[in-house]
Each structure stands twice: as C-alpha cells, then as structure tokens.
Amino acid sequence: MNSVIKGASYVLVHTPDMVLYNGTTQTTERVVNPDSEYLKAVPEHLRSYEEAVSYWPNQTYIGNAHPDELAEIEFPYYDKKKEGAERYGKYGEIMPEEEFLLLVQACDMFEVVRLDKAFVEKYKEAFAKDPVISDDIVEKIHEGVELSEIETLISEDHAEPLYFEHQLVGCVKPAHDIDVNLSSHVMHENLMSKASSVLALLYAVKNAGIEKSDVEYVIDCAEEACGDMNQRGGGNFAKAAAEVAGLVNATGSDARGFCAAPTHALIEAAALVKAGAYKTVVVTAGGCTAKLGMNGKDHVKKGLPILEDCLGGFAVVVSENDGVNPEIDLGMLGRHSVGTGSAPQNVIGSLVADPLDRAGMKITDIDKFSPEMQNPDITKPAGAGDVPLANYKMIGALAVKRGELDRKELANFTKEHGLTGWAPTQGHIPSGVPYVGFAREDILDGKIKNAMIIGKGSLFLGRMTNLFDGVSFVIHGNTAAVQEEAAGVSEEEVKGLIAKAMKEFAATLMAE
C-alpha cells in the first residue's frame, strides 16, 4: 500500500540583521559598491518582528490562514495587516532573531558560535518558553563570553559577526584555519540551515502526533553543502539536525537538486516506506541566508519594505499506511528526463500531462496543483511576475492544447485548480511543498480529492549541466479501506476454493 502523509510543519525565522550582513545581494553590493545608496537605505526598509508576524503570506505559511483566505485579500499584501496574527500557528511558528541565535548556538557541536553573555542572559528565558524547545536543547546553551572576546575573534580570526538590532551580539568562528569549506562564512550559512531544519523537525514530530523515537530516517533537501576541503558536499545535514531534535532512532542522508529537491525527497521517502525499508521517514529543510533580501534592490527602489527577511523551513512526516491519511501515489510520478528538452511545453508535459496520461486521467481531474508557490508580493515588484499564476497558465494552456479545456475557461482554470502564492523566496522552500500540509487537511476534510505537487529545479546554476529538472507526484485520499475490501472479496473466493477442494478430497476418501 502507498505511504501516507502523517503531518507537516512550516516554520519561519525573522532575521532582518542577516538580510543586511549575509544576503548575497547585499554582500555583493558591499564588494562592488561599498558606498552605495542602496546599502544605506536597507536598514530603513527592514520590517520589525511584529510587522513580519502580521504579514498575511507569513501567517498563511505557518497555517494561521488558508491560501483560499489569502486569495481574498486585496493585492498587494505588504501594506495590509492580518488582525489577530500570532507567532504560533498550527504548522509551526515565526521565531524571532534573538531566540533563533540561541537555537543556532545549541545546534553548534564544534564551539564555533560565540554569543555575548548579556545577550544570552537577556533572551534565554524567552527561548526556553518555546513549546517545542525541550530542556535538552536549552541545556546546550552556554552562558556566553565577553563582547571584547567576540570583537577580537572577528578582527583577528576572521569570525563572521552576528548582529541583533544592528548591535554585535556574537560571532561564528571558522572551523579550520585554511579550509574554505569550513570558513566562518560557510559555517554560518550551514548552521543557520541546520538550526531552522531542527525547528521544522521538532514541529513535524509534534504535528504528526508521533514520538521522536518513531522516526527511522531523515532526508534533508535544503540547498547548502557541508563538508571539508576533501569532500565539499560530504553531508550530512539530515543526521546532524536529527541529533539536535532528539530523533535517537534515526539516521539519514541529504538529497540535493536545487528547488526540485523537496519533491525528489518526498518521492524517495514515500518509496522507502512503501518498500518496507523504514516505517517513518521525515523530509526536512532549513532556510538559506544567502537569499535574504535577494530582490531587495527592487523593493527599496519601489518604496516597499524588504520582504525577504525570513528564513524558511519545513518538514513532512511520511509513514506506513494508517488507513486514514492521504497517500503519495507512486504510480503517478512525473519526471523531466535528460531527453525531455527545456521548452516550457515539454517541461509541463513531462511533469503534469505524462503521469496523468499513464493513469488515464486528464489535467482537469486534478483538483489543485502546487508548483512554484512564491509569494507574488515579493516577485512582482522585482519584475518576475506572479510565479504560481504563470505556472497555472502554462498548465491550463497545455490542457487547452490537449483538448481537455476550452480556451475560454483558461482564466477560470487558474482560479479553480490554482492557489495564490504565499511562500518566501527561499529557493527550495516555495517549491511544491508549501501546500502539502494544507493538501493533507483539504483532502481529509473532503474539500478536494487530490493534489499534484510539482518541484522544478534550475540545475544550470551549478554549471555542471545546462539541463533543467523537475519531478511531480499526486496526493489523494486514503485507499486502504477500498483495497482491503477488494482483498476481502478475493479472500472469500480463496475460502470457497479451499472448501471445494476439501469436499472433493472428502469425496475421494469416501469413494475409497
């Protein structure tokens, strides 16, 4: 039987200081044009924690609003406030930067993170109050060091500074003197990814209603690489995060594929569980500091706040069929192969139409599609348009070309089978997976019968191939009862055959 989606988590971390100091748009600008007007303008365009919390797309991401509710809000979203917005949602939370820096230190196993004593003292209590932060994690927090020590590490040891409200509060030291893969920059990036993945794992276990010890395997599908100069992408973020999250019975591995990785990882998880290799697999990913403020120049130019001020994370728990939860149907996988070609028509054909053809279904038979779910509030001012809508138009146009949809119905199709984007532009984070949590609930509630999750990845960015990539799968309602019923009929038949054979055997005995 197919594996099921037992639960999902979605977390955000508001990191405005990292926008300025670690986002590549800003760090590149500092190299190319250190006195730029843009860099001076950035701090004025950063949102407060409260503003980030009350932002509609963020509330949608953590589950406090359904995408259908977001669709009712008048665009743009940045100048609207969600009344009653909260830090915690049914899928996760929006963690403030100060508490996250403590979590990062708790995730550091090699004492490269140093935090200011006064900073730790001030925020440790608030950090400990977080419902998913268990005592064993709080116990990992060191008391901190003097600020002067941090200043010395930055000036003499190339440590990467950590700021909160533009004040120096800590640093990340290099983990090696000359190895660039263990430099303070790389350690910083990797620890932020790891810590946000830990937060996602903690919520995923809680939301799925399972024990931490139930998890047997973790797949990390973020976009960072950890290793040293002899094995740059050695890994393994999955096991490293599982350790901090207390998943004592789990091992794991990292799956990479740019933005397509989460969908690849979910298919792998579903296959591992269906094959019986593991009973419970969690797919997880932390966020990406490099992408903070990626479109900041356009946002500032157009007088908007810098909307890419949060790290994103998610985790999905995939487990054996429990007869209740929606299934990942491994019989209906879409894949962009080496021979597919890169024209959008071929891409959508391979990811959407081909798997449906194999199952004898039409494009219009899928209730909801979840392709690239980027928040249009972020992408539109940057000239990249409404990415989810562009995907829906392409899927609809393909349905028209295949004669499955009337051309006049195209606009309607994008509404009925589509969703308004709400995910932060963190690469892998908006790709297909943001809807998995809602899809599970919408199917359980009978709102929809199925959904297609589509992951696409720009492999050419790695300069190893010019190819593009993508995979897709379909989630539908649980079929265990139907399958058992079908199995039940054949069981009766088997019993009948046995009875018949017994009678015949008895008859031969009598005859003798």
């Binding site: 044009n33 070609g341 562009a390 393909l398 195209l410």
Partner: protein
Amino acid sequence: MDLENQKRVKEFAEEYGAENLVVVLGAAEGEAAGLAAETVTLGDPTFAGPLTGVQLGLTVYHVCEPEMKEEFDEAVYDEQVSMMEMVLDVDDIISEMQAIRDQL
C-alpha cells in the same frame, strides 16, 4: 540580467563582432524582457554586471515577437513555443522591446 550571462554576451560580442550577434530572449514578463534588452543594447541599468556602461547595441528580439516567429519552422514553433505564446502577454512584451529598440 544574470551577471554571468552578461559576461558571456560580452565575450561573444568581442569574439564574433556585435553586428554578427542576435540575442533571443524568452523572458516571461514584458518588464524583464525590456531590462534584458536594455542590458545588451544600452548597458546594464542595474549597474551591477560586466555590461555596466557598455553599449553593445546588439540586435535583440523576444522569441514571441513576429519578426522571430517568421524565422521558425511552423511545426517546431508549435511544439516549442506555442503554449507559452498562449500564456504570455505578447503585446506588452512587444511594446517593451520596441521601446528599447527605439532608443537605439
């Protein structure tokens, strides 16, 4: 326009000569197409890449513009581009592209 792509366009222009080069765009938005066209003609308007202050003046079209469409085998165009043609705001793209060409 991606900094790496700017570098490649610049290198091609140096290697083959600007008059022997046509840049074909596939951007999904008029604004993005216009920015890319501006970059390879008048120079990088974001002042970030290798084409900052470099006026290559290259011939540039979007693949959905009629001048480009005419160059294609009809069957190939139908297979590779027609779906996107249905999706894109072609009129907006054409006017953005024309606006840049008018400045040359």
